[in-house]
């Protein structure tokens, strides 16, 4: 009887996996046949646009294409000269099936280096208007002889001193710099803060009325700085701290709701560890920040237990949380659903869910939304880098909540699998089954572990009446991992995994 029950449970899980699994298709975004093949692209953000009768999916990445002498590498060195820019993007006009490289935005004179950590959004008031953010190095902080090696110095100093936002008014065919800004308030920690605080990460969102928001972690002050443009033609200005008095540890993530609310999340330092806090901006004011996750890890490094291109293979990671806003269940209190990465007692990484009501009055754990090892002997060994994406549904079409994450299988490996899990309910109980949607993706990090700290996932359209989602990942584009230097690896490109 027990064996029958176990068999049936396995069959049910398999059936659900089959029913939930779509047909995944891989797309090479960069590194295939164009100018991107000889340089690295990684770390993605994406948005969708509509202009001139065309729907487009835009994806931006840390793009080293075409920097020439402005960005050069040796086995353990890097030289950054004025004019280096990582602000490149690609686009798809068939809802994420095929891609073409679109180009790069040049660094403006007063901000001679655009240094990645991309973020994108599309104006809620006009789908032809898109925004693209990069961290930036102001001329006032840029050394006359260029930068050798790291862009950080001292105890908390950095050449990075703000961000630049480019804007497209043609649905992403072209971008031009819209505004560069930074926080120049004096800081006890850093004498150079008056030239621009050390910004890291980037996240953007836009409300249906066309307000545009951009957020960065201000490393100098451990705050989240949020900038707001009242419409997509206006300039950005800083707004109030969403987490007053709290210590922000990681990049922020922003999401906008159809009711005009904007949500900000980041990892906050607490007495017992780190947790995600959320806050909501509505009516021109932030509410009260609330705890939205269990304790979690901050930027874990994942050791693959193998050697690739002559160096031990590790991958460093970006912020280990993701959330979206969508349709709530009948019981409610879950219009916001989130995944965070946690570490088990045996040291394994796994992802686990939580949910909040739209007004943030009720946040609670949802441990049934779980992917990762159930024991020290289980596989996969580590699950990390979660993404959550929602589609709200429409008349006759049910809403959809999906998520994705990397999985490291095997104690000595050089690849990751990409998993997907719907954040659903079965008979009223939270229910989720992880399914692999791409297997054995080759990992080719540099010797710092960099392989793109984060990747984006978004809904890109429909196949018939089925919503289609794209998750971006790294890839070697079939060219192998031939070089892993301190600051660069080869081949490192971007691919898309599309469902269905």
């Amino acid at each position: 009887m027990m064996a029958r029950t176990q068999l049936c449970r396995a069959a049910i899980a398999g059936t659900a996996a089959y029913l939930l699994a779509g047909c995944s298709t891989l797309g090479i975004v960069t590194g295939n046949t164009d100018a991107t093949a000889s340089a690295a692209q990684s770390e993605t953000t994406a948005t969708t646009t509509y202009a001139g009768g065309k729907n487009r999916v835009l994806v931006s990445f840390n793009d080293e294409t075409g920097n020439g002498a402005n960005l050069t590498y040796g086995p353990s060195t890097r030289k950054i000269l004025s004019g280096a820019t990582l602000m490149g993007w690609a686009l798809s006009e068939d809802s994420g099936k095929t891609w073409s490289y679109a180009g790069k935005v040049a660094a403006p004179a007063q901000w001679p280096v655009l240094w990645g950590d991309p973020a994108m959004t599309t104006s809620g008031a006009s789908y032809a208007v898109a925004f693209l953010s990069n961290l930036a190095i102001p001329k006032s902080k840029f050394p006359s002889g260029g930068i050798n090696g790291a862009v950080t110095y001292g105890s908390i100093g950095a050449y990075i001193g703000g961000a630049c936002i480019a804007r497209s008014v043609d649905g992403g065919k072209s971008f031009a710099i819209h505004q560069c800004f930074g926080n120049t308030a004096p800081s006890t920690n850093d004498a150079d803060a008056v030239k621009g605080h050390f910004y890291d990460g980037g996240s953007m969102a836009s409300t249906p009325s066309g307000e545009v928001f951009a957020a960065y972690v201000d490393v100098t002050t451990s705050k989240i700085d949020v900038w707001r443009a009242p419409n997509h033609n206006a300039q950005f200005a800083p707004i109030a701290d969403p987490f007053p008095g709290l210590v922000a540890q990681t990049h922020a993530r922003l999401r906008a709701s159809l009711d005009g609310s904007v949500y900000a999340a980041t990892t906050i330092a607490t007495g017992g560890g780190s947790v995600v806090y959320l806050n909501r901006y509505v009516g021109g004011h932030w509410g009260k920040p609330v705890q939205a996750s269990e304790f979690m890890v901050v930027y874990p490094a994942v050791n693959f237990g193998s050697t690739v291109a002559g160096a031990p293979l590790t991958v460093r990671t970006g912020p280990q949380f993701s959330f979206d806003i969508g349709a709530q269940s009948e019981d409610g209190h879950d219009a916001i659903r989130m995944l965070v990465t946690r570490r088990s007692a045996s040291g394994r990484l796994y992802v686990e869910g939580s949910a909040c009501s739209a007004d943030l009055s009720n946040c609670h754990p949802v441990p049934q939304w779980h992917a990762g090892p159930s024991s020290a002997e289980a596989t996969p060994l580590d699950v990390f880098n979660p993404n959550v994406a929602a589609w709200r549904g429409f008349i006759g079409l049910p809403p959809q909540w999906t998520s994705s994450f990397y999985e490291r299988y095997g104690s000595s490996t050089s690849t990751v699998n990409l998993g997907r899990m719907y954040l659903n309910y079965l008979s009223g109980a939270p229910f989720a089954i992880p399914v692999d949607i791409a297997k054995k993706i080759p990992v080719c990090s540099d010797q710092r572990g960099y392989w793109g700290d984060y990747d984006d996932m978004l809904m890109v359209g429909f196949d018939g009446t089925t919503p289609a989602f794209v998750r971006f990942t790294g890839t070697d584009a079939g060219k192998g991992c031939s070089k892993r230097w301190t600051y660069v690896s080869q081949h490192l490109h971007v691919q898309s995994v599309r469902e269905p």
């Binding site: 068999l7 069959a11 029913l19 001292g154 210590v247 947790v275 930027y299 609670h364 079965l426 054995k440």
Partner: protein, 136 residues
């Protein structure tokens, strides 16, 4: 390669579905994970479970400048701070009692001797984890 693997996975799932047909319908409910039952609040709204630990955020304290020249040098070339004339693998903050102390985010007293406080990572990391920094 990936397409083949996906097809293989789907064949396995299809086989599982066939086996499933032979199972009693009630097994579906037996297989469902335990539900976190909503509970009633005083206002009559329903809530779900609480987080295992209600986190108490650390307050953001005013920064204290490094001074005294005793900053520890990290292996990646960056430096710590010198607080109360003691090497600090973290940053100085002003305590509620007016004194200065060394902290690195969630870690009071700063990081241990084999770690550095990484401002970009917001945590203590092994000083030999990487010779370099996490910026791109």
């Amino acid at each position: 390669m990936n397409a083949i693997q996906l097809r293989s996975c789907k064949r396995a799932a299809l086989l599982a579905m066939i086996v499933c047909v032979s199972c009693m319908a009630t097994a579906i409910f037996a297989a469902a994970p335990a539900r976190t039952e909503p509970t009633a609040t005083a206002s009559g709204e329903t809530t779900r479970g609480e987080f295992q630990s209600r986190a108490e955020p650390l307050p953001r304290m005013p920064a204290v400048a490094s001074e005294g020249g005793c900053e520890p040098r990290y292996r990646n070339g960056l430096v710590g701070t010198c607080i109360n004339h003691q090497p600090c693998r973290g940053f100085g903050v002003r305590d509620s009692d007016g004194g200065a102390s060394c902290v690195c985010y969630v870690k009071r007293s700063g990081c241990s001797a084999d770690e550095r406080c990484d401002a970009q990572e917001g945590q203590c990391v092994k000083d030999d984890e990487s010779e370099f920094n996490r910026e791109h």
